[in-house]
């Protein structure tokens, strides 16, 4: 039971962490709660499903489900990356110097738009996600870790390592960090702030897309509304860890997943969402900037 909850919690937490990274990166750079980020995750799940449909239509999946899975993820990442960049150009860039609440409302608008677009284009009902890797698993200390869970955990680790390298070892990563620290100063020393912001949206959205495909596989069902709760949870995770901090988002995501999993397992599954928020409130009371966050409120 304990081990099982731990495994489930880590799996769920990995997904939250992947989505939370997108929130935290965008927030770190333009201080915007991108409420449409959950929708990007939802789009990722849909594109994964649609790609699989195409592959089966052309009899390409039977030789190797692993290759199909990879293709699904790449397609979802590309598509969602494109959507994220487009979204920023259309809905956020014109509002960069507007009052603080305006981009937030704009983001909520994008979120409503995307939800309804997918509902109209793909129908309001649950869609079955292809069962890849289903069936087998490994028994571990009295718990069972399924292949999908292994895939989610491994995939998350790979993504995070890649992201860490990108942010700390490449030129664009350096530009991103500089922009997050001080946008105007970065622009003065020659960083192309606009393209850095675009790249941030691209990366954040691609991570959310991966999360979307993973969750689609994990639960087996997707609908146009899944982005809402996942988005809120991931944002909670980002704030829990300290918004703007990337290690914070990872830690926050994992913690939130564990809290939910243990709360649901040991106390009550109906109230698992309440625990998540209650923990968040508690953490923020004692550490108003989140676990690993710096105090951004005094930064002018």
């Amino acid at each position: 039971m304990l081990v099982q909850q731990l495994i489930n919690g880590l799996t769920l937490g990995s997904v939250y962490a992947l989505i939370a990274l997108g929130y935290t990166m965008v927030y770190g750079i333009i201080e915007l709660i991108n409420f449409a980020h959950g929708e990007i995750y939802m789009l990722g799940a849909y594109i994964g499903m649609i790609t699989f449909g195409f592959l089966t239509a052309f009899y390409l999946t039977s030789p190797s489900p692993a290759a199909a899975l990879l293709l699904m993820m790449v397609a979802a990442m590309l598509y969602c990356g494109a959507c994220g960049v487009t979204m920023e150009r259309v809905a956020y860039r014109p509002l960069r110097s507007a009052p603080r609440l305006s981009p937030l409302i704009s983001a909520l608008g994008v979120s409503i738009f995307l939800q309804n677009f997918v509902m109209l284009a793909q129908g309001p009902r649950d869609k079955g996600f292809p069962h890849l890797l289903a069936g087998w698993g490994i028994d571990l200390f009295g718990g069972r870790i399924s292949a999908i869970q292994i895939f989610i955990l491994a995939g998350t680790v790979v993504m995070m390592v890649a992201l860490e390298l990108l942010v700390h070892r490449t030129k664009i990563g350096k530009a991103m960090r500089a922009t997050a620290q001080d946008r105007e100063m970065a622009a003065l020393v020659g960083v192309d702030v606009n393209s850095v912001i675009s790249v941030t949206f691209l990366i954040g959205s691609a991570l959310a897309a991966v999360a979307g495909v993973m969750v689609g596989m994990y639960y087996g069902l997707i609908n146009f509304f899944i982005g809402y709760m996942a988005g809120i949870k991931a944002f909670t995770a980002a704030v829990l860890g300290g918004i703007g901090s990337m290690p914070g988002a990872m830690l926050g995501g994992l913690l939130l997943g564990l809290i939910e999993s243990f709360g649901a397992g040991y106390i009550s599954s109906e109230y698992k969402d309440v625990f998540a928020f209650a923990i968040l409130v508690l953490v923020l009371i004692f550490r108003p900037t989140g676990l690993l966050g710096e105090d951004t409120s005094k930064r002018a």
């Binding site: 927030y27 909520l108 608008g109 738009f113 284009a121 809120i232 928020f277």
Partner: protein, 406 residues
């Protein structure tokens, strides 16, 4: 990288067509499936062409239109500010009491709905517009009001008039309950905690079966009655909410210009400066939460009485978003602006009923367009905080549409 504007418009159109392609195509009919994306592309190109032609040939005309909007809202603001408000409000009250005569039940129902949302939006305006505290869980207080009446009416048998102040009081208590832990939080941390609070209330209502009957909701809530007269037809409710709205506007206007109102505005513009000038931040914040929540409680009690049925479904995050949009759309902090925003957001979707399915799609798109074109809201003025961030508000839409020069 500068391309010819026409080419750019076509490319943008194709890009959106491409983005919609995977979601819209029908795998059974790959070629027929292209209709949707082509339609999307055509729509985007059309919008682009309209904007482009307006900015090249119709340049003076379009500038005049945007100037006209600016001047119009300026005049509206000035009128509202200069003309004796009492006269203005007296006229509005007379108009509002005469309007429903001769209208059918549906229209009156919509107008009643407007009244509920005006009350809610004015309450939220205290928290967000005046005190500058971003509250994304405002609907929780609405739910508290509604469930207070729902439960006290069905279980204890209290009447509407007894519960109305009780509901307001309960909501205010919840406001303080939320306010205390979040006193230290700022900006977006506050936003997420209020959002979480709203969700917690809704989830609790949904799961506490023994008290709230969970997702089934509470049925058979008593209608209000006065000396044997029972409120039963839409028009009775219309006049009831009209009275509530008038009282709300009256009190909110007074609050606006009271000592605490000025303290809120000072706090919103610069917390540190306000504190230095002697504003007790803790009091000011708690009062903002409590007084904001009060109106949600009142609106909730009315809502429960009007519907005679309530369930957690009516109190989702989306509801909070809509109310926030009303506040921002009309122009934050301005009472006439908030009333306008609430009216627009209730009435416009009703006009779009014929598009039924596309309603929310258009709504979401409109929110974005509205913000891009007029970020300060319809009647909003560039206040002190905003002024320092936006150099010239009238140039913004143009600057946004111009191809970026790198």
């Amino acid at each position: 990288m500068r391309r010819h504007p026409l080419l750019r418009i076509i490319l943008v159109g194709l890009w959106f067509g491409l983005l919609s392609l995977p979601l819209m195509m029908d795998q059974q009919a790959p070629f027929l499936g292209l209709r949707g994306p082509l339609l999307v592309a055509a729509l985007v190109v059309l919008v682009g062409l309209l904007r482009w032609s307006a900015s090249t040939w119709g340049s003076p005309a379009s500038r005049r239109v945007s100037q006209l909007i600016g001047v119009g809202s300026q005049v509206a603001r000035d009128t509202v500010e200069r003309v004796d408000r009492r006269l203005l409000y007296a006229l509005a009250i007379v108009a509002a009491s005469l309007i429903p005569l001769g209208l059918n039940r549906y229209v009156i129902d919509v107008l009643t709905q407007v009244g509920i949302y005006v009350t809610l939006a004015l309450g939220l305006n205290i928290v967000v517009g005046l005190a500058g505290l971003l509250d994304l869980g405002y609907v929780a207080f609405y739910a508290v009001g509604a469930y207070t009446y729902g439960l006290l009416s069905t279980r204890v048998g209290l009447s509407f008039w007894e519960v109305l102040p009780l509901g307001a009081l309960f909501a205010a208590l919840f406001g303080v309950l939320l306010g205390i832990p979040v006193l230290r939080l700022k900006g977006d941390y506050l936003a997420i905690v209020t959002l979480g609070f709203g969700e917690m209330i809704r989830i609790t209502l949904n799961n506490w079966d023994s008290l709230t009957r969970g997702p089934n909701g509470i049925i058979g809530i008593a209608r209000p009655r006065i000396l044997g007269f029972v409120f039963s037809s839409p028009i009775h409710y219309y006049y009831l909410i009209l009275v509530i709205v008038i009282v709300t506007i009256f009190i909110v206007e007074r609050l606006n210009r009271s000592r605490i109102g000025r303290a809120w505005t000072a706090m919103r513009d610069d917390e540190l400066a306000a504190e230095v000038m002697g504003v007790n931040l803790m009091h000011a914040k708690l009062l903002a939460f409590a007084l904001g929540a009060t109106w949600a409680g009142v609106a909730g009690v009315f809502f429960a009485a009007k519907m005679t049925f309530i369930s957690p479904e009516s109190f989702t995050f989306f509801e909070s978003v809509i109310i926030l949009c009303m506040v921002v759309l009309g122009g934050m902090g301005s009472v006439p602006g908030v009333i306008l925003g609430a009216s627009l957001l209730v009435i416009l979707p009703e006009f779009m009923r014929q598009f039924a399915l596309y309603r929310m799609l258009i709504f979401g798109g409109a929110m974005v367009v509205m913000m891009v074109l007029r970020p300060q809201g319809i009647l909003g003025s560039a206040g002190p905080v905003i002024a320092s961030r936006v150099q010239d508000p009238h140039r913004r839409p143009m600057a946004a549409s111009a191809p970026e020069t790198r």
